[in-house]
Point group: D2
Chain length 327, copies 4
């Protein structure tokens, strides 16, 4: 049943993507209305992610709720913006400035409130600016204490909304504190709240030399803490945010097998940056790859995959993958 | 007080190092007597590490104890060999074969007994063969469950001997399960025994894009679980096991500052592979770099380093490092 | 004689740096006048780099010449902008669109003319957008043929201005064609013009696992083709554009030794992105590190460095570096 | 016509593989007779590679010729051993010791003579030990001059035997001089002999962040210098020497397309290290993946691949790959 897979995408997927050289972006800038319209052109897309302040705020939350619902979408995640302006540059929850820290926590709480109003289950805590660039620049115990306290405080604010911590090894800081699946689990255990879990962004896992399937297993098998997934692909050294299936064929299949096997219940959301590609096509391709790989898994059967894994025999795996992809 | 630093090295440091191309090694093979003699030629070395079965066994443990003591050394660590023969190739604690798993656990228990007899506080659990090489080759929940159970069982065997888990992202498997500081903390928390902690091998941290100082802070500040340190250096992508100070000058200084600041009480042990270098010179150089960098830290003063860190000002850090190294 | 080192910096060093998350930049946007004023606050800076169209154009070239001269600077390099707007996104010289290719070549020729008028010896050809993001996206023979032809055509346009090709493994494309020192030499040999050489950006070399000193040797020793240098530092996996000396102490010293030894005559230019740092401080620190390391080299003496290199003895190197940095 | 592909493998593929931890190897050690017998069990294998001195020497060359011929194989490559014993540890052609240099050159010449007697067209010059481990350890101009002279001298020794230079970024040295395709082309141009070309080892290209298809294009399109290919796969950061198709599905397809398109005439040879796998199965899997991917290429047709490449449209590529692998 591929039908069980529910697909979402950040509506920014359809906007012009920029990088540090082409700050104006490679494509056309769209407004929120146009972004939602674009999302409607993607097959099988039934959810959208919004960014706090960018797309939703106190004034427009009810209007956005109606607009997104009318367009046929669930809001699957609200991401508080604690990383996209200069003031967050030296950290959000871990800033040395207590005013910035307070502002960041309030930003997160706001997003939780908006999420609740939007019937959205999840907000995404991505600490991209919390880290360091140079050696001897960070007070590690202090930073981690602030992260733990801050997340716990937010968790209590709207307990019925889930917080998912999104880890990433680097960028925009050269080193992010919440870098790997293991450090994420450490944070979750210290915070210890039922509504605080994790998301895996596949590309961030690849950057960290993780096998995303193993990362999912650690989070989900041992504590049912895998609440959300971001799909994309890259060349391993950097968060290239490419479309799904463009590089890692077998590993993506493995991940889909394990998500299914571990009874992952969350959304299959896209987090891609189609800098030079059409966003609608890029989302369509990504979803088609996920569905196609899921279909391959069903065709060769979960049972045979399970047998290959149980055997630990890499050459049996190789033969099964040939059958899956080449025959 | 540099004098507080206690230095150790695996006696294999002084043996011929081999790699997969030069299996016979680049230098001369020595026996245990010769290795201990070589260790005596290293200034400031007061500890040695031994490998179970290679250097110590049921028959020679008392003789080795006397020999090492007479040579003026403490035994600082015994490392059970659960990774250096073909039978461990598909895993030790996580092997699919229950007989191999039992053998591995027994090997560890033996090393704990020998450690106790040698007045050695620490044994080193390095799961180099526990992982996977290919996608779809490992049953992650099963493997991690076996790791947790196995370590817990060992911990109870000789509670007065400490087990330190040594993480490493890869090699000899292309992916090791216990890969990063975060996954190590996950393992420690699941095992939850007072005598089970971690070691940081600096090179393994570098391979994983960790800042070893941050890794030390996570282990030590939050739960006093940093029991041991392995020093070396590398070019970041691989465990080159080079002498200390040969690449990462400032980061090594940062690590020494934090170990001191976090009140790390363990040994400063070397884990280097001087393939083409003389082992005695390589150990001497490594210790001299650690002492030299520690001296630099004292000269510029802990207080000023603390101020730079508290400021988060990378350019103040840069100026302080210029003063430290160039003036 | 540290005095022989001539320092330059792109005037954008002093502007707000942006990345793909903080498109508005971390600091304050300045105009060209303010950027030149900022440059004057950097000790020992006697050269500036300009970007074509951004800072210099047909209308203002004479005015800029006077303004820069009056401020006490040489213009050391003009960089044509063939990478900073959406239209270059699919390549400049290698675009599939012949109109874009023509426009790019014209942009380069314009910059050569401006360089001549500014008494500037060098223009910088950086092909950041010429490459590919996905597999099966590029026609390699066609792309390389276009690169060769295009560079040759430009070279003939103003033969008294030198073109330096600046290689980089990736970013903004996930793969740039002109990625490494070796591919750069291939391009130079195919172009085969006296006024076409290379620059090494130290960070780009580090990203490609090059030792920049070896890269300099290949270019300079065998064909006197090293015309320019960009200094910065990074953590090896990405072009972090950090200040000089912040990570690679010994390698930077090695590079300075070889530039001196190979009789490199060009500028020591900075190419840093001080996202969260003050640009003036960042430039000052970078220059002070270069001067400081050059001073260390002189203090321990070129002769002893030459002896260590000739011996190939890494432990003698280690001892010499301890003496250089720790004593 | 898959039939045009000619497959070879080093007969060591079938021997126990060792690494620096398991020096005795993971499997069973076989003698040359047994290795040749094992090779016969691999479907479609019609060529074998031999290592000088290991498998062939002055005394047994004629016997080996008969034995290999009788077993139904061509000898496709002889690899002189200038990297597998301690004496080569500080370099072969670039050793500081002129006696070692002379010995290395003689070893290569011997292999050329044996190749000729074996009707083998190619010998493989892999300079794994020629490089450096530490900064300030190598005299780059001297080393490269020695490489150029040495290769040229060998080339003249038996002009009818082709020398293929095999590049690799690192291992066993932390940095090899002949590291990338670009540096290889530099070497070929300096040597400038008709019988000196290159091989691409796919895994070595991946380690260096090369797209092997582009590397092939540079060598073959511009100077017909791609004489040989080594196939394998890895996780990008290290030469894991895994079986073909186990990680990089699309990139391997791309490479096969370009080899065909560039009219590559050489062997499709395997260079894998099946540490924990059965060598015969590993070779069979590798060849089946190459044939299978080649078959996929034919099924979707060269014409459509060419169109996708010409368009530069990554989403058209994505759709075509879905059709190729998932439908």
């Amino acid at each position: 049943m591929v039908s069980k897979l529910r697909f979402s995408a950040n509506i920014n997927t359809f906007n012009a993507c920029a990088d540090r050289y082409v700050l104006g972006g490679y494509g056309k800038r769209l407004n929120t209305d146009e972004l939602i319209s674009a999302a409607q052109k993607v097959d099988d897309l039934t959810g959208v992610e919004l960014v706090g302040k960018w797309h939703v705020n106190d004034d427009n939350v009810e209007q956005i709720r109606r607009q997104v619902t009318d367009a046929g979408f669930d809001v699957t995640c609200v991401t508080p913006d604690i990383w996209a302006s200069g003031k967050w540059g030296w950290g959000s929850f871990t800033s040395n400035d207590p005013k910035i820290r307070r502002e960041a926590i309030n930003e997160v709480k706001k997003s939780m409130e908006w999420a609740k109003q939007l019937n959205c289950e999840v907000i995404d805590l991505w600490f991209g600016q919390d880290g360091f660039d140079y050696p001897l620049q960070a007070d590690y115990p202090k930073a981690w204490s602030l992260l733990i306290e801050g997340v716990a405080e937010c968790a209590d604010h709207v307990p019925e909304v889930k917080i998912v911590v999104e880890y990433k090894p680097k960028e925009p800081r050269t080193h992010c504190f919440v870098a790997t699946v293991g450090k994420t689990i450490f944070l979750l255990e210290k915070v210890n709240k039922p509504n605080v879990g994790a998301m895996i962004d596949v590309g961030h896992a690849l950057m960290g030399y993780e096998n995303a399937a193993e990362s999912a297993a650690l989070l989900q098998y041992f504590s049912k803490k895998l609440f959300y997934m971001h799909f994309n692909d890259n060349w391993r050294y950097w968060d290239d945010d490419m479309t799904v299936g463009s590089v890692h064929t077998i590993e993506t299949l493995e991940l889909l097998y394990w998500l299914d096997h571990l009874d992952y219940q969350g959304w299959y959301a896209l987090d891609i940056f189609p800098y030079r590609e059409d966003g609608i096509k890029a989302a369509n391709e990504s979803i088609r790859w996920i569905k196609g790989l899921f279909g391959v898994m069903q065709r060769i059967s979960r049972k045979r995959i399970a047998e290959v894994i149980a055997s630990g025999d890499a050459m049996a795996m190789s033969a099964l993958m040939r059958e899956a992809f080449l025959d």
